[in-house]
C-alpha cells in the first residue's frame, strides 16, 4: 500500500466517510473509492466496475470479485458506530468506557454543566446544549445509537422526538414500564406517530437482570449490538 493511499484511508475514517479499498490482487495496485464513486490511488477503475464497488460500500460487502480477467479484493471501511448519550449521569460514566471498548465513538449530551464535566468524563466529547439542539448538530445517521438516561422528561422527551425523526439505528430510554407508558402518551400527544414510537427501546437494554450502573451499561450495549448485528444462531 502506498503511503498516500494509507493516509487517504485514515483521513476518510477520521472524517466519518465510508470508503472501499480496492486491491488488484494481480498487480497489488490499490484504489480508494468513496460512496460518490470518487477515486484516489494507484490506478483508475473501469467505468463498468465502479458501480459494483459503490454497491459494496452501500451493502458493507467485502470480498474478492472478478472483473474481466482480474481478481480484486474489495475491503469496505464504514464510518465508526457512534453512541450519543443524553444525560451525564452515573450510569453514563460506566457506559462511556464500555461503548468505547466495543469500538463506538461516544458523545455525552447534558445542558447541566455540573454533570457534564471533564472530571466526571475524562477524554470524552461533552456537549452542554439541550438535547434537541445537540442532536440537530450531531445528525444521528444509520450508524448512530441514541440513549436517553436522564429520567427527566424535559431532557429525555425532546431527545427522543429528535432521534425518532432521524436515521438512528437504536433509540433507547431508561425508565420502568409504568414510566414508559406515560412517556408514550406524552410523545403521542406531541404528534409523534405510532410507527415511530415503536422504534423506542424502553426500558432500555437487554434483560439480563442488571442492577449496578456497570451492569446496566453492559445490558444497554448488548441490546445495541444485537440491533446492529442481529442474532447469529436463530432460535428453534
Amino acid at each position: 500500500m502506498k503511503g498516500r493511499v494509507f493516509d487517504a484511508l485514515r483521513t476518510a475514517l477520521a472524517e466519518r466517510r465510508a470508503v472501499a479499498l480496492v486491491t488488484d490482487l494481480g498487480s497489488g495496485l490499490q484504489t480508494l473509492v468513496d460512496i460518490e464513486g470518487r477515486q484516489q490511488g494507484d490506478a483508475g477503475l473501469e467505468d463498468e466496475f465502479l458501480p459494483q464497488v459503490v454497491d459494496a460500500i452501500r451493502a458493507d460487502r467485502r470480498g474478492i470479485v472478478e472483473f474481466y480477467d482480474g481478481r480484486f479484493f474489495i475491503n469496505v471501511f464504514p464510518p465508526k458506530n457512534r453512541l450519543l448519550i443524553i444525560g451525564a449521569v452515573h450510569l453514563a460514566q460506566a457506559l462511556v468506557p464500555a461503548a468505547r471498548l466495543a469500538g463506538f465513538d461516544v458523545v455525552v449530551i447534558d445542558p447541566r454543566a455540573a454533570f457534564a464535566t471533564p472530571d466526571r468524563f475524562p477524554d470524552t466529547d461533552l456537549v452542554t446544549e439541550w438535547p434537541d439542539e445537540a442532536l440537530a448538530t450531531l445528525k444521528p445517521d444509520a450508524r448512530t445509537a441514541v440513549v436517553a438516561l436522564t429520567h427527566d422528561p424535559k431532557f429525555d422527551d425532546p431527545a427522543l422526538i429528535a432521534s425518532l425523526a432521524s436515521d438512528a439505528f437504536y433509540v433507547g430510554v431508561l425508565g420502568g414500564r409504568k414510566n414508559q407508558a406515560a412517556r408514550l402518551q406524552r410523545l403521542r400527544a406531541q404528534g409523534v406517530a405510532d410507527d415511530r414510537l415503536e422504534r423506542i427501546h424502553g426500558p432500555v437494554g437487554l434483560d439480563i437482570g442488571a442492577v449496578s450502573p456497570a451492569e446496566i451499561a453492559v445490558s444497554i450495549l448488548a441490546d445495541i449490538i444485537l440491533c446492529l448485528r442481529g442474532h447469529k444462531w436463530k432460535a428453534d
Partner: protein, 108 residues
C-alpha cells in the same frame, strides 16, 4: 485501550510509521467454514515484530508475522492460506476446521 476495529489498527500502524518503523498490513480476503475473523479483518505487523489487530482467533497470527517480516524485507506482497488440512511448510492451522486466505502487503 484495546479496541478491535480497523481504525484503531491503522492508527497503531501510523504511529509505528511516524517512529520510522516499517509496517506490513495483512488483510483477510476470503474465509470458508468457521473462520473466527470475517473477511476484511486487518492485522498490522511492524518491522520490530509488534502486532495490532488479528486475522484469526490467535491460531495463525504468529505465522503471518513471520511472513510479514519477509514482505518487509523484499517489499513483495504475499498470499497465505491456512486450513485444517493444509500441507504447508509451517505447522499451523485452524483447529476449528475453518479456512482462510490472507494478503500481506508492505505499507510503502
Amino acid at each position: 485501550m484495546i479496541r478491535d476495529d480497523n481504525e484503531a489498527i491503522l492508527t497503531q500502524a501510523a504511529g509505528w510509521r511516524a517512529d520510522g518503523i516499517a509496517v506490513a498490513l495483512a488483510h483477510v480476503i476470503a474465509t470458508w467454514g468457521s473462520a473466527p475473523r470475517p473477511v476484511g479483518s486487518l492485522m498490522a505487523v511492524s518491522a520490530t515484530g509488534a502486532m495490532a489487530g488479528s486475522v484469526s482467533g490467535g491460531c495463525v497470527e504468529g505465522a503471518v508475522a513471520l511472513e510479514a517480516a519477509k514482505v518487509l524485507s523484499d517489499g513483495e506482497p504475499r498470499f497465505l492460506s491456512f486450513g485444517i488440512s493444509n500441507e504447508m511448510a509451517w505447522e499451523v492451522g485452524l483447529a476449528c476446521g475453518g479456512k482462510l486466505e490472507i494478503y500481506v502487503e508492505p505499507i510503502q
